[in-house]
């Protein structure tokens, strides 16, 4: 008997046309489920979803959408070109246009020499590039990308990020689901944080990484109890004989100094650093605090 779980609950979200909206959260937060709901792979038990005013139950709602699944899988014995040809036919594209687009995308995604190769001979990264090609083949207005650079080498990730930036500049609406926070930070306009099927918060990227700064408090102590207590609230990193504690607001710094002082720890110094999406993510997901 399968155990029933509520994958998503009490969720209300609007992605605006032309924006890059990212979903962040730990594994099992419901990010992929949300993408699957949008594409009609699974149906909600209650509530409504629409893409450009159409319900996912209507097949036409998927016409303007390009989807890159988390684990793309294609018929292993067909060639790359065959898969792209079938994709074009699925989208009612003219065969000559499909051929042209396939060549363009093969150049763009660095898989020109793989067009005749069977899918089974492709590496994981190349398979992902093919999945991206199938998603972009019909030049969709909306892209749903589930872990687009998972499995790519560093060079591939940079290429992918640049491609996403290009798509963003071309006015595409992108729903991005990624664990690579640096990538999300560079591309996204807004992010939603999900945990256990619920949205914790939705924020503008500018507000997350713009004006805010972190404080790094450097201390020296051997008191393990004190450190364990601090770790519950702040990220702590060892550096030589010191400990670096990251705090997001001035009042937090004040409280921390009081705690260190009370425990007899040596305060080496305090400095400011730019706040990243990673800091924001850890605050919200791991420490459950507001910035």
């Amino acid at each position: 008997m399968k155990k029933e779980i509520t994958a998503l609950d009490n969720m209300s979200l609007i992605v605006e046309r032309g924006e890059v909206f990212s979903l962040l959260g730990p594994n099992g937060a419901g990010k992929s489920t949300l993408a699957k709901l949008l594409l009609g792979f699974v149906w909600p038990t209650s509530g409504t979803i629409s893409i450009s005013g159409l319900s996912p139950a209507e097949s036409a709602s998927r016409q303007p959408v390009g989807y890159l699944p988390e684990h793309p899988e294609f018929p292993p014995h067909l060639s790359v070109a065959q898969v792209l040809r079938y994709c074009g036919a699925f989208r009612r594209m003219d065969p000559s246009v499909v051929r042209l687009r396939a060549e363009q995308l093969a150049d763009l995604l660095g898989m020109r020499n793989k067009l005749r190769s069977p899918i089974r001979s492709l590496s994981k990264g190349m398979n992902l590039r093919l999945a991206m090609a199938t998603a972009l083949l019909h030049e969709p207005d909306i892209l749903v990308l589930d872990e687009p650079s998972d499995g790519l080498d560093p060079e591939g990730r940079i290429e992918f990020r640049n491609l996403l930036l290009k798509l963003k500049n071309n006015g595409k609406t992108i729903l991005l689901n990624s664990h690579i926070l640096s990538e999300v930070e560079r591309i996204s306009d807004r992010v939603a944080l999900l945990k256990q099927g619920r949205i914790l918060r939705v924020d503008e990227m500018k507000a997350i990484v713009g004006a805010n700064c972190n404080y790094i408090v450097e201390t020296r102590t051997t008191d393990e109890t004190l450190l364990a207590g601090i770790r519950k609230n702040f990220p702590v990193k060892a550096q030589g004989s010191s400990w670096l504690i990251k705090v997001t607001d001035a009042s937090g710094v004040k409280d921390l100094i009081s705690r260190l002082d009370a425990a007899g720890a040596v305060l080496v110094g305090i400095r400011q650093e730019r706040r990243t999406l990673e800091d924001y993510y850890l605050e919200q997901i791991s420490y459950g605090r507001n910035p």
Binding site: S59, P75, C87, A89, F90
Partner: protein, 252 residues
Amino acid sequence: MGETLRNIRILSRYTFADFVSKPAFQIFLLVEGMALLGIILSPKLPLFDNIRVVPWFIFLVSFPAFTSPVVIDRFERPSVNFILSHPFTRTQVLLGTFIGVVLAMASLPVFFYAAWFAIAGIRVEVWDPAILAQGVSLVVIFISLLGYIILTGMLMPHAPAITLFWSLYVMFGATLLHARSFNFFEVEPKGDPDLLLEILFYVTPAILDISNFFKNVVRTGYGDPLATLTSLGGATLCMILSCRLVGKRDLG
């Protein structure tokens, strides 16, 4: 309506292309070609001695041996999401895939029977429409059985019903085999069926049922109780049928 038919057509074409490109299918085609070559080169046209058994065995037992798992795998794998992410309805995907697989599978016995009929006709100059009708009925029965198995597999990927229908299929096949349906088409039987092939007819699905049982256990970790029960039930049924028939032959 036109749009729906068009979508079903393209999906079945895609499935057909996917299916015939599988090595298992190509190996089967090769074996079929070799069998036909054997028929051509053999001085005594040996298949005519076992006219009632050999085609039945090949058509009804060997082909579905790898059909059911293939179709079930297809719908369990994430590849179905690739198709579903395109502007198709679920019904279109289901029908298109079903037709594609059935056509691909049916092409094997159609090709074999047509070639066999032609070779037999050329060699012994027997162009009996009754034999051709026998072949057509054989293919229709094959497609019906296969279609049933595939459709069940597609609708219920983990369904133990697959195994149940395997058993039904064997029973139905057995009835057909032993009813000597040649009489219906007024074809005179030539020679006795090969006992070994007849036993294989029953043992093959039994082995498949047992392998299906192990597959269930491996996949789920603990085994779906209903699937396990029907897999073993199906295997037992096949073995009982096999034993009973062998026993009957000995008595006869």
